[in-house]
């Protein structure tokens, strides 16, 4: 573990800005040959931006990257692949209807002189790769028939077949069982011994402590520190991850919290979430904190009628309710601002007016005829009250900025005067100005006695806005915190699975 290693990849002063957001700020990083280098940080810290720059998908705005001391230009994904940098994303890219051997060699099939695939060499080479990964799979099996874990291994195999020197892995264990994880780690260790560097991006501190040689912590686009695994404890890593002062995005006003408006008991859906129980009271802002994929959105979608739970009860104002579809939920006064505003929240090619009134028209109509005057008035009221910047009501929504688009979605639901308002990652990809406006809206709603659920993976946001926070990890509730005892470390740990209810 202590032999001297060369620097294989050096990142110097790399920055990347997106409209309204500085994703990476003058980042310096070096990767040693054959090391397992973990990169950790909260959502939005810049991990995925860094990965995408290294794999050629994004272009950096500033800085230089050196491979074996030679500066390189990563202008496309194929550039990165040619230079030996492979990236394995969470979304698998194997072709299910091709066999393992073909999947291993997508992009560099061995050909023979007759311009046909040299099948003998293909299957021989495939066997070699499979041996390297200690996989007991036949190269003739269709990839679609393999387990997700094995499919992931094939992706790694593909990187090996491309003679990758650096393999970036994004949350590789998210769909693996413990046993499969061990196999993966075995493969990683083997690759590391062979001199291949692994950049391991993950939230899971347990695993990072187990597998990494060095750990780099990112925060708000900066590099906080790079430490050797033995030199930092999990607690210290967490502190580095979130150690900023919590800016006050706004001042949380005193709100009178009264009776329970939403009660969820024993909600379960196989493989998604298990035994979820919590309450939301009038005027209260309940936060659901956890990693992406922990099941928070699914819980919200179940309450909203998009998904159906197999077990459990939902009661509103003390009465048991059956929610079979979204129309039922809306009737019960539940509204959901979905996670992906472009895909789920808006019809992008249509106007602001259309989008805002899409749900409200069910109310402001007589035998189906829409009262267009009321529709316009309602829309204009919201444009004012939410400060939505749009040249007109007829403006196509896709032309608005992210923050204003989100406000249109919020206006759409606010017009229904919800009793229970769920917001799923409402400030994702939105500039700071719009963020605080949205927090103000949440505050106002709370004062009006609406029960609010806020799903977020940004700790400062959720700690600033909520009265209570419950943490979700792998589909289960792990902890509950009252505002007085909000502690960023404990909340973060609970969301990572440490600290069971």
């Amino acid at each position: 573990m202590n032999k001297a290693k060369n620097v294989i990849l050096r990142v110097e002063g790399v920055s990347k800005t997106f409209p309204g957001v500085k994703a990476l700020s003058e980042l310096d990083l070096d990767i040693l040959e054959g090391e397992v280098h973990a990169v950790v940080g909260e959502n939005g810290a810049g991990k995925s931006t860094l990965m995408k720059i290294l794999s050629g998908v994004y272009h950096k705005d500033a800085g230089r990257i050196f491979l074996f001391d030679k500066e390189i230009k990563l202008l496309s994904a194929t550039d990165a692949l040619k230079l030996g940098i492979s990236c394995i994303y969470q979304e698998l890219t194997i072709v299910p209807l091709l066999d393992v051997a073909k999947n291993l060699f997508i992009g560099n099939l061995p050909m023979n002189k007759a311009r046909m695939i040299n099948t003998r060499k293909l299957y021989q080479d495939a066997k070699k790769v499979l041996e390297t990964l200690k996989l007991d799979i036949s190269p003739n099996v269709l990839c679609g028939e393999l387990s997700i874990a094995n499919q992931q291994m094939i992706e790694i195999g593909r990187a090996i077949s491309r003679k990758a020197r650096i393999i970036i892995m994004d949350e590789p264990t998210s769909s693996l069982t413990d046993k499969e994880k061990e196999i993966l780690f075995g493969a990683i260790r083997h690759l590391s011994r062979e001199g291949i560097s692994i950049i391991y991006v993950s939230h899971k501190l347990e695993e990072i402590k187990e597998i990494a040689d060095r750990i780099t912590i990112l925060r708000d686009g900066f590099k906080v520190k790079t430490v050797k695994n033995e030199e930092a404890t999990k607690e210290e890593i967490v502190e580095y991850m979130i150690g900023r002062k919590l800016d006050n995005y706004f001042i949380k006003k005193e709100v009178k919290i009264s009776d329970t408006v939403l009660k969820v008991e024993g909600l379960s859906k196989q493989n998604v979430f298990h035994d979820i129980s919590f309450e939301v009271r009038k005027g209260e802002v309940l936060g659901l904190f956890g990693l992406i994929g922990a099941g928070r959105s699914e819980i919200a979608e179940t309450i909203f009628g998009i998904l159906h739970a197999e077990k459990g009860k939902i009661s509103i104002n003390g009465k048991n309710v059956k929610i079979k579809n979204t129309a039922d939920a809306i009737k019960q006064g539940i509204c959901l601002v979905p996670e992906d505003r472009k895909l789920q929240g808006l019809v992008l090619k249509l106007s602001v007016l259309f989008n805002m009134s899409l749900v409200k028209i069910r109310e402001i109509n007589r035998f189906g005829h829409i009262d267009t005057r009321k529709e316009k008035d309602t829309a204009e009221r919201f444009i004012n009250s939410l400060s939505i910047k749009t040249p007109s009501l007829k403006q196509t929504v896709s032309n608005l900025s992210g923050g204003n688009q989100q406000k249109v979605v919020i206006a759409k639901w606010l017009s229904m005067e919800p009793k229970i308002f769920i917001l799923d990652e409402p400030t994702r990809g939105i500039d700071v100005g719009a963020k605080s406006e949205i927090y103000a809206i949440v505050n106002e709603l709370a004062q009006k006695g609406v029960g609010i659920m806020l799903i977020s993976s940004e700790l400062p946001e959720i700690m600033g806005v909520c009265d209570r926070i419950i943490t979700v990890f792998e589909g289960k509730l792990t902890a509950s915190f009252e505002r007085e005892s909000f502690n960023s470390n404990s909340i973060m740990k609970a969301s990572l699975g440490e600290g069971l209810l």
Binding site: T93, V95, P96, L97, G107, R115, I117
Partner: protein
Amino acid sequence: MPKLLGKFLRDYNSLVLCLAMLIISSIVIPNFISSMNMINILVETSIIGIMAIGMTFLLLIGLFDMSIGNQVSLVSLVVALTINFGIFPSIILSIIAGMLIGAINGFITTKLKINAFIVTFAMLGILKGLNLIISDGKSIFIGNDAFGKIFTLNLLGIPIVVVIFIIMALVAELILRYTKTGFEIYVVGGNIETAKLSGVNTFYVTMFCFAVSSFCVAIATILLTSRVNTATAVLGEKYTLLVITACVIGGVKFNGGYGNIFNTFFGVLAMQLVNNIMYMTNTSGYVQSLINGMILLIVLSVDKFATIRRSSVLT
């Protein structure tokens, strides 16, 4: 054991269906296994089968050509018009004509980034007009004895149509399994992002598939035309639906097909057996077309095959 049986049924469903139809046929129709009848069925099956081979390539990448019925008519008309240059030249010219249409379809689909369905739908209209203009709405009698003999050729007793089908099926299987292009077809059909990232030329792949499809249509048409020694503007009208039904029965799925020519062949055979039963039992012609349409819908339901987003265009 039951799991294996289930898998066997799924992989070879059309073979099973075929055997079932054979059994039903021999019960319902007296003298079913008379060689004349079986040969007719095989011939008709092979013609549709040849076209289905080509269509499979398109389906594998998630596309479809609605104009093939009219391509059939066009090719037959080109044969009729050029027969005076000689059989061989006329065959070559008609194949080129057919493939040109396929190339145009492919080009518009990829370069203008338009939904393949609507492009080929528009082409359907264009060809309809073109065919009527060329033929002036009349049948053109070719009357070339040598040309008409082509259809009657056979190899060891097996009609040439069937032989050509078998050869083409094998070649197609070869291409799909052992060449780089065949491999790229599966990649594009399976996961287009992966395809682009791995440097696959999606334009080439699309053009290739459209060209193959039109090539197959042309070959089948030449054989068909030889049989009747006549060309008309409406010769091919029924084939679009028949070919798509054939592919659906054969289990080809949009995007990365479970594309298997073997399956398609037995699927078509099963379909023809059904048609034959109806013909032999004197079922009215209208019921026959009804059944053909219903077969399509039934297989769709059973297969959930057509669960693809409407605008599956390669962009």
